[in-house]
């Protein structure tokens, strides 16, 4: 009834000041107050998975296993980080999954000698340039996407879908459909190295997530992504350079994907022809169950990280429980839907 609505409304507004004061006492220094619970909604799921893992197998709660899970999550999580940024700004980039493969291939192709190995490159540049070249390729791909989407005003979904296919094709053509195993040592270092007993890739991922999360929470340009994704027109009237920032985000996303390509190639010691193939579905699933809105303007990097961990833990626990790997795909899909339902009710917000 409307009379009761009015009363509750007035009560809410009346206590507004008190609540604000209380908020201040609790310390809003922790970041923007809202959505705090939304991004924690998968934490209970992760704990439950941990408990199940502990019950089904003594091998689960060992350092080796957990580090293994974390290491396997690194490449995927970098793509998720990139996708979280792009989705929060209200855009999409499907081509990330091809960038993770094509960027290393182009870099290696440019530096490897013209003869002497199964895969012949151009040998144009010294071998140490492989890493910077790979990152540069990422930047170029992001810049081209940005040009097509923001300057020519093409539809971002289709542009990046085309880019996904095209880059995959370029990788197959350059590598002649085969894995490249003769990689420069500088290229494989990061994927292989171990710092303080933990793979370097994990440290790097943690650092990047911390940086990214902090930027989104405490920097004006980070907050601008939420503003753009929430209401681009309003962001423009507030003086935010919308196109420039979106372009930067697209470039940053592709750069992260190229970097993920370096970690992945180093980890497995080769650039496989199917590197990243089909990942974009998992990436989107992890990002969205982690609370990032497909419509932009909502979500956090931390939430996205919990999304990746959830997906990876499910696979790990199932493997340890002896479920045949042939069931992995089925379970992955099922967990996406279950996680979405859980976060829908944990947050109380409609996802549409």
């Amino acid at each position: 009834m409307s009379s009761t609505t009015d009363v509750t409304e007035s009560a809410a507004a009346g206590t507004g000041r008190a609540a604000a004061a209380e908020d201040a006492r609790r310390g809003l220094g922790l970041g923007p107050g809202l959505g705090r619970f939304r991004e924690l909604s998968l934490v209970p799921v992760i704990l439950a998975l941990g408990l199940i893992g502990f019950i089904v197998s003594p091998a689960f709660l060992t350092a080796d296993n957990l580090i293994g899970v974390a290491q396997q999550s690194t490449e995927l999580s970098l793509l998720v980080l990139a996708t979280a940024f792009i989705l929060i700004a209200g855009r999409m980039d499907l081509s990330l999954e091809s960038t993770i493969g094509v960027a290393p291939v182009i870099a290696v192709w440019l530096v490897l000698p013209t003869s002497g190995a199964r895969f012949t490159g151009l040998g144009l540049l010294p071998e140490w340039t492989a890493v910077p070249l790979c990152l540069l390729v990422g930047v170029v791909i992001g810049a081209v996407n940005g040009f097509l989407i923001l300057r020519l005003r093409l539809n971002g979904f289709i542009v990046t879908l085309g880019m996904l296919t095209m880059l995959r094709g370029l990788q197959v053509a350059l590598s002649e459909g085969q894995s490249i195993v003769e990689l420069p040592s500088s290229f494989t270092y990061l994927g292989r190295a171990s710092w303080l007993g933990v793979p370097a890739a994990i440290w790097i991922c943690l650092a990047l997530f911390t940086l990214g999360g902090s930027a989104l929470a405490w920097l004006r340009h980070g907050r601008a992504l939420y503003a753009i994704g929430g209401n681009a027109e309003a962001a423009r009237t507030a003086g935010i350079r919308v196109d420039r920032i979106v372009w930067a985000v697209l470039i940053l996303g592709s750069l992260l994907a190229a970097f993920a390509g370096i970690l992945y190639s180093g980890h497995y010691g080769s650039v496989s022809a199917t590197q990243g193939n089909g990942w974009i579905f998992q990436v989107f699933a992890a990002t969205v169950i982690g609370g990032v809105s497909l419509n932009g303007g909502k979500g956090s990097v931390f939430g996205a990280l919990t999304g990746v961990l959830t997906l990876q833990l499910v696979v790990n626990v199932m493997t340890l429980a002896g479920v045949p790997p042939l069931w992995n795909q089925f379970l992955n899909g099922a967990i996406i839907i279950v996680a979405l339902v859980i976060s829908r009710f944990a947050s109380g917000e409609k996802q549409e």
């Binding site: 009834m1 009015d6 604000a20 908020d23 809003l28 929430g230 209401n231 309003a234």
Partner: protein, 531 residues
């Protein structure tokens, strides 16, 4: 409100206008949007800008706010030339605009919205959230806006959002605000609170340019009025010296016979004796309790009430949009299955929905498609839509409702607000309904279209059908034979022809003989807004 604010320094003693635009011209391709237009706003003045749709008001706003450079003409703020187009910060310290479309970002907190893109001193300086919230609370308190700075902006009411936008606009240091149809989405009570706030700000020396379709509001709030017509300046005069009729004449360019929206004289008694629409004991969640009403053939019934009164819910329930908890709706003796739009359509209910943008129109589709959306079954056999037939149908409706459109195939988004509303009405009429339910049928349309639409609704009743107008606009209600006033889900008053404005307004506000509980919650709600 006013007492919390401190009067800032401003040049009230000087005669230098806050804004002075002269000889402004602007054309878009072949269309002349402004022709040698001018406007001058003095400090602390409430200046109204009125004109029919397409008179050039929006173009003037984008020129005054620096979004568009004029082709010719000069623009000065407080005597100094206007900054370069693109220098957003410089513009914002001179002029602020509360746009028709909200520029609040719903997912962020009020505090962040207030300081958007200036949350911290530098791009690389981290944002100090505590500090930001403190500053936001100070800012809100300074202008007497009672909104929680930590609330999510999307959870605010339209009214609160506008106050936040006004506070944000003022925080850039400007003493001049453009309000582009700020009352379009507010109910009567919200409007009066907005006006109180604006008057308080005026006392602090803030000048307004107030754009509205509601001449009543112009008379209530403003001291000076400027009229634009056909992209040109027509007159500027003190509101007190300009009669209602003279103002309408200036806007339309043709002499008017009577009052602007006083359409056909209500016929008083219906032509048919039978009740076409009967609502009995209707109870809706969040809407109404045990509500009964009936509309005779040939009658136009007004259902008045403020935003929370439930009148819109009742209308939507009649059109089958809401499930009833109890009670029944019958149209011409045939019960309407509650909560089913097809059943309501079959019974002969036509609905003009409240918000034409959200519920009324498919924007990128053509006028023809939009107008025939409810009657696709008549456009061809076996579910097909024959272009010839739908074209003819649409053409008939365009003529019937005098829709100004280049053609039936024009996308509806290209039309002016008044003509879009006519398309919505046309669609409601397309089914040849026994009962036309129109919710705020003249919302955001110009004087001419308003007159036309109300007259068209009258013609529906004259044809022996029934019409229900749900509105809190007195002009809409004047077109009715009988007015029921709802307050908090109940009918609290009924007026025959010849009612006084104050009576109806008082009943809508729940002042006259309102039930005890409602009066209490009313006063609570008032407290919230610091009155």
């Amino acid at each position: 409100m006013a007492d919390t604010a401190t009067a800032p320094a401003h040049g009230s003693g000087e005669p230098v206008p806050v804004t002075e635009a002269t000889g402004i011209s602007k054309r878009y391709g072949a269309t002349v949007a402004l022709r040698d237009a001018r406007i001058t706003v003095a400090p602390g003045e409430a200046h109204a800008l009125v004109g029919r749709n397409g008179a050039g008001k929006s173009t003037l706003v984008s020129v005054l706010t620096g979004l568009q450079a004029p082709d010719t003409g000069t623009l000065r703020f407080s005597g100094a030339p206007a900054p370069a187009v693109g220098d957003i910060d410089a513009w914002r310290s001179r002029v602020a605009c509360v746009y028709q479309r909200s520029t609040i970002i719903p997912g962020l907190t009020v505090a962040e919205n207030l300081f958007l893109n200036r949350q911290s001193d530098g791009a690389l300086r981290p944002i100090r959230w505590k500090e930001l919230h403190r500053r936001a609370e100070e800012l809100l308190a300074e202008y007497g806006v009672d909104v929680d700075a930590a609330a999510r902006a999307g959870d605010l009411t339209v009214e609160q959002r506008q106050f936040v936008e006004i506070a944000r606009a003022l925080s850039f240091g400007t003493r001049f605000i453009i309000l582009d149809e700020p009352t379009a989405k507010l109910d009567a009570r919200g409007i009066s609170r907005l006006f109180d706030k604006l008057r308080a700000l005026r006392r602090q020396g803030v000048a307004f340019l107030f754009i509205s379709h509601h001449l009543r509001e112009v008379y209530e709030l403003c001291g000076t009025v400027t009229v634009y017509r056909d992209a040109a300046h027509i007159l500027t005069a003190p509101v007190a010296e300009l009669g209602h009729r003279a103002l309408v004449e200036a806007m339309t360019g043709e002499p008017t016979a009577g009052g602007p929206a006083r359409v056909a004289v209500p016929s008083g008694s219906g032509t048919g004796a039978g009740d076409v629409l009967t609502v009995e004991g209707l109870t809706l969640e969040d809407g109404c309790r045990d509500l009964s009403l009936s509309v005779r053939a040939g009658e136009v019934l007004g259902l008045a009430g403020a935003a929370a009164s439930g009148n819109v819910r009742v209308a939507e329930a009649i059109a089958g949009l809401h499930r009833a908890e109890a009670g029944g709706i019958t149209v011409a003796g045939r019960p309407v299955h509650a909560g089913s739009v097809p059943s309501a359509l079959a019974a002969g209910v036509g609905l003009v929905p409240e918000d034409r943008h959200l519920q009324g129109l498919v924007h990128h589709r053509s006028v023809a498609e939009n107008a025939t959306l409810t009657v696709t079954s008549q456009l061809g056999p076996f579910g097909t839509v024959l272009p010839r037939r739908s074209g003819r149908f649409a053409q008939r409706m365009i003529e019937d409702l005098d829709i100004k459109t280049p053609g039936a195939a024009t996308p509806v988004s290209a039309l002016s607000g008044g003509n879009q509303q006519k398309v919505v009405v046309a669609r409601a009429l397309a089914t040849d309904p026994r009962v036309l339910v129109a919710i705020r049928p003249t919302n955001g349309v110009d004087v001419k279209s308003k007159e036309f639409l109300l007259d068209r609704i009258r013609r529906v009743a004259d044809a022996g059908k029934a019409a229900l107008i749900v509105s809190d606009e007195l002009d809409d209600l004047k077109a009715c034979d009988r007015v029921l006033v709802m307050f908090h889900g109940r009918v609290v008053a009924e007026f025959g022809p010849g009612w006084q404005d104050e009576q109806v307004v008082a009943a809508m506000e729940g002042v006259a003989g309102a039930p005890c509980a409602a009066a209490t919650s009313g006063s609570l709600a008032t407290d919230v807004h610091g009155r």
